[in-house]
Amino acid sequence: MASSFLDRENTVAPPGFNRFLVPPAALAVHLSIGQAYAFSTFNLPLTKLIGHSHSAPADWDLKQVGWIFSIAIVFLGSSAAVFGRWVERVGPRRSMFTAALCFSGGFIVSAFGIHLRQLWLLYLGYGVLGGCGLGIGYISPVSTLIKWFPDRPGMATGMAIMGFGGGALIAAPLSVMLMAHFKTAVSNGVLETLVTMGVIYFMFMMIGVYAVRVPAPDWKPAGWSAPSHPKQLVTTANVSVDMAWRTPQFWLLWVVLCMNVTAGIGVLGQASPMIQEIFSGRVTPAAAAGFVGLLSLFNMGGRIIWATTSDYIGRRNTYMVFFLLGILLYSTVPTLGHLGSIPLFVAAFCIILSMYGGGFATIPAYLRDIFGTYQVGAIHGRLLTAWSVAGVLGPVLVNYIRQYQIDNGVPKAQAYSVTMYIMCGLLLIGFLCNYAMRAVDEKYHYRGSTQS
């Protein structure tokens, strides 16, 4: 009974189905898995499980705990790449259900790890199992949304991927509230919070599992027909996932995404100390936390705004804006720091982070334009390995170059200048790859049936 409910055949929408029921289904999943961005709220409490108010000698240290998130991000990218084709085959409902089981299961296994004081269970739970839930959940609704909104693919996928950015806005205060609620004289409440969040997220993701539908194979939006003369770089052909990654276009897009994410993710991870060090004595830790929150808000808003804009100005032009405006803003940041202008500094980074989010949200529609709708979810999954690489590259660049500068006697307030110019260089590489983008050669086109 349960398996038939999850089958792709049973998710085909009946005639007259309102396609705007699908984006909230996708959002239910993405708002849940977006919790990953707020995992750092558990870092300090996880180092005080024995000492409660302080870290006892037998407690885990921050370095050990930091690996949980890193493992989750690596498994996000790799599971999206490995399970992409399976997600395309079984459809969004079964894949969302699997993602819910993995993601929520990750919380429960991690809670068990805390109970037994076994750190490897947290690596396995939130890191491996939860990471697989993140990867499968992230790509589950993408191709379904693109098929429902052939007239507005950017807006549709932007809405879902906005949820991944928004998930942190919900999870951060929710985690803090739950830990405060469960805190006792003998526990700091992390274990209970993880169990509660695992249950809440499972139930919330079930809304998506229940509501998601795929369109009938011959379905089109009322009054819409595919343009007879598609825009430049928008294909009417299809490329299979196995062929896609043999094309230069796949690797150009891989570099485009990797460079855009590297530039943003390094700043996002270091935002709080960066603003405090550049405006030393003028920004308190609480205000710096507000800055991080503001960046998250723009990261989320940029996803829907830029992805929707890409429907009008084209995907390549949207990325041109990201790279050119990014270079301009990053090169201005050191000057803004010297000028001591906090509002301009904050505004520059808000725009940068909106383009970071916009890059994530626009890429599925870009892939659809270049490779067609057949297996676009699986191709997206493989492209997300660029995120895993950027997740390591970005923070390493920002942290190590800053430390190198400080070790060589550069004042802390100026230690970020070189990093900003390196970010400009990365964005220039992204710009050139995006500029080189051309339509896929016909020899790569898929000739078989695409009805699956």
Binding site: P24, A25, A28, G163, A172, P173, L294
Partner: protein, 32 residues
């Protein structure tokens, strides 16, 4: 269908709005 549409959007919209509101509350500290 319309009731289901509203319910679904409310179900995902309320937590999201709550998160945005909490974030804005914190962000205001930056300009105080």
């Amino acid at each position: 269908m319309k009731v289901r549409l509203v319910l679904l959007w409310v179900a995902v919209g309320i937590p999201l709005l709550w998160g945005v509101m909490k974030t804005l509350e914190n962000a205001l500290k930056l300009f105080q």
